[in-house]
Amino acid sequence: MKDSDLQRLLRAAAETVSDQPDEMPFGFETRVVTDWHAGLARDFVDVGRLLRRVVLLSLAVIALASAGTYHELRQSDDPDDSNDDEYAIVDSAIGSALEP
């Protein structure tokens, strides 16, 4: 079969006009628009869920950070052991300087 034979076949086939109408089926646009609205509502709910998770996670991080800071402050306020290390270092330095 040659290319020209196929071209003839295709030309003959193109002469038949499709009898199928291009009209929209009844209720089609309503279905599409309803789906679209449902999709938008779903997106909105998804964004809400994500936002709530982000807020909860942020609150948890803030609470942990606050607890850590409070703990550190409590430790530095303790008068018994606040300067012990520094005194020991200075004492050792003086001692080693005075040794012959």
Partner: protein, 197 residues
């Protein structure tokens, strides 16, 4: 696409639809349905109903509405979504039946014999049989090849129009058309060989 009304301001309708204007969304569907349904038919889905595929395409159009930049006409943008959706859907169907000469009607066999016997154009009385035969040949092609043959030869669109509809380059359109024609000729040769046995 040619019969799309000139006053169709796609960008304005999209802008309104983005603001959740329902009447604008309905207008988009009404205006673009003929284009979408013709593209769906060009792909000849086997298992997926034409209406379902159209609905799937419009769902994607509205889902991606925020991505429409307005740089190309709305019809071209929608037709590319339609083409890609159809190709993906039909590839998922994986239905490319192999036809044998015994599956053809007497009229279709007469068309094949006529093509082999003379180099004259087929008469108008053979048009419907020719169409049926072409449908059989198209069914064995890949979705993109089916589309290009339908647009180029049955709808008689230009390469430039197909480029605009599909987003494919001119050379890709021509290569796909060439490969599709080769396959169709091979299939016709098989029919002829089976018929002569």
């Amino acid at each position: 696409m040619d019969d799309m009304a000139d006053d169709f301001d796609g960008a304005a309708l999209v802008a309104a639809a983005r603001q959740h204007d329902e009447s604008a969304a309905r207008e988009i569907v009404r205006r673009l349905y003929p284009l979408v349904v013709r593209l769906v038919r060009s792909h000849r889905p086997r298992r997926t109903a034409e209406e379902d595929l159209c609905q799937m395409i419009f769902a994607k159009v509205f889902q991606k509405l925020s991505q429409f930049s307005g740089k190309v006409p709305l019809e071209h943008w929608v037709s590319r979504i339609a083409v890609n959706t159809c190709i993906n859907q039909i590839q998922a169907e994986r239905a490319r039946p192999e036809f044998r000469e015994a599956d053809l009607s007497d009229e279709e066999i007469a068309v094949i014999n006529n093509l082999a016997a003379t180099s004259e154009e087929l008469g108008p009385d053979r048009s419907f049989a020719a169409r049926d035969l072409v449908e059989h040949l198209l069914a064995a092609l890949k979705p993109a090849e089916r589309l290009v043959i339908d647009l180029l030869y049955l709808q008689q669109r230009s390469v430039a129009e197909i480029q605009a509809l599909t987003g494919w380059g001119a050379s890709l359109v021509k290569v796909r058309a060439f490969r599709a024609r080769q396959k169709m000729k091979q299939q016709l040769d098989r029919f002829t060989a089976e018929g002569s046995r």
